[in-house]
Amino acid sequence: MMRIKICVGTTCHLMGGSLLADAVKNNRLYKKGEIKLEYATCFGACNGEYLSPVVEIDNKLYDDMNVEKLINLMEDGRGDIR
């Protein structure tokens, strides 16, 4: 099972975190129970090295996320993996 943690900190939220949460909740794999979604407080990552919004998938951080990248990652892992 894929485990996705979406940061709900200030900057990630302002940069579109809620859209990412909606994207996961509307995804067929989430609805089938193959993805576990969690909200997380700040990962402390977006200090220049990473760009918000940041998402953690299976204990690995992915930055500068958008809905398209996240869907790709959920479907077949084709995101810009850092």
Binding site: T10, T11, T41, G44, N47, L51, S52
Partner: protein, 384 residues
């Protein structure tokens, strides 16, 4: 420790610009006193008399003069109408001590309605004659979640000669208050509901000034808000311990602050997925911490909400609550707001791609403490 929050609403006599009932509240270190006065008649004359009465009572109380002496002074001072032979204004005094004792003194107003354990509680009053005026007094112990309602006779007479022969009456009002309480124990809902119904019974033309004051007794009326990481990382442990050992409700505002507290206390922050997540990020909780929210956006919205009201009960909160609304409702029930504000600069806010310039935390906190002071809260801010 027990304390009380209060919400009131009045109806003016039809055609009058001012209300002939007046209410004042006064705080001291040991107790709070609520005074409701009903001036004889209506309009300006009644209003001035009622204000005079509440003002004398609260001023004397502020100068630590006992309730008995206050009553004696008032009864000696109140002028008696030459034509009608009765005192110009009636009054009810409710004094609530922090240790849970309560004193009620009533002169010619309807008795205070007390709702305890979902039923009407009627204390035994002692009558005494001070300067030919019969004063009813009682003392009792308060219990958590007790609700008290102070009322003027304008409520009792609603419907008189219109929908009903003799008006609504104390019994019916007390039972109705209990019924609304059973549906929603929200103070504002109860007071608004009864006043709206009174207005209807009067056919939208109140024949007397009518006032209802709801008082809700709450335990632990203190809250500590910890927002922002401490300037010196080495003091993290000290401030986290201070926060966790606080004797009252605890709220964490800020992701980084939340992480520090979670890490040092070995607890996890749980953020419910079902929470409302639109304008503000969702909120969560932690063991021994009532609320964990995002920081500056939540405080910014809280300030906006406080700008919209004088009394925090004026604002109607629609469920589901977002983080700022939840924080608002917690603060609303508290008397004292202690804030622990970290001064470490948040490097994450230096992102030029952010959609707007975020106010620095200290500005928001300054604004928040001014607004909370205005709302009658005691605010203590400690920067760390």
């Amino acid at each position: 420790m027990l304390s009380a929050s209060v919400y009131m609403k009045s109806l003016n006599h039809h055609g009058e610009e001012v209300c002939g009932d007046n209410y004042q509240m006064q705080k001291t270190d040991e107790s709070k006193i609520f005074v409701l006065s009903d001036g004889l008649g209506s309009g300006i004359k009644a209003s001035i008399l009622a204000i005079l009465t509440t003002e004398i009572i609260t001023t004397m109380f502020e100068n630590e003069i006992g309730i008995e002496d206050i009553v004696e002074t008032i009864t000696k001072t109140l002028p008696v109408c030459k034509r009608r032979g009765i005192a110009y204004s009636t009054f009810t005094i409710v004094q609530i001590y922090k240790n849970g004792n309560i004193k009620i003194v009533n002169y010619d107003n309807p008795e205070v309605v007390i709702i305890r354990n979902k039923s009407i509680y009627q204390p035994r009053y002692q009558e005494s004659k001070i300067n030919d005026k019969i004063i009813k007094k009682c003392e009792l112990r308060l219990e958590k979640d007790d609700m008290l309602f102070m009322l003027t006779d304008g409520l009792l007479h609603a419907g008189l000669g219109n929908l009903m022969d003799f008006g609504w009456g104390w019994e019916s009002i007390a039972q109705y208050l209990r019924q609304i309480y059973m549906k929603s124990p929200d103070l504002k809902d109860i007071v608004d509901n009864l006043i709206d119904l009174t207005q209807i019974y009067y056919g939208n033309k109140p024949g007397d000034d009518a006032t209802l004051i709801g008082i809700k007794c709450i335990a632990r009326p203190k809250v500590m808000i910890f927002s922002g990481p401490p300037l010196d990382r080495q003091t993290d442990r000290f401030y986290v311990d201070k926060f966790l050992n606080y004797n009252g409700k605890k709220v964490l505002c800020g992701g980084t602050t939340g992480n520090i507290v979670a890490k040092l206390s070995g607890q996890e922050i749980e953020i419910n997925l079902d929470r409302k997540y639109k304008d503000l990020p969702p909120y969560g909780k932690m063991k021994n911490v009532e609320l964990v929210t995002e920081g500056v956006l939540t405080i910014k919205k809280l300030n906006e909400m406080l700008s919209k009201c004088n009394n925090m009960y004026e604002l109607k909160l629609e469920t589901p609550l977002d983080a700022a609304e939840k924080l608002f409702s917690i603060i609303r029930d508290c008397d004292v707001v202690d804030m622990l504000i970290g001064r470490r600069v948040n490097v994450f806010y230096h992102n030029p791609a952010l959609p707007f310039d975020m106010s620095i935390r200290s500005n928001l906190i300054r604004e928040l403490s001014e607004k909370l002071n205005k709302a009658g809260k005691t605010v203590n801010v400690e920067y760390c």
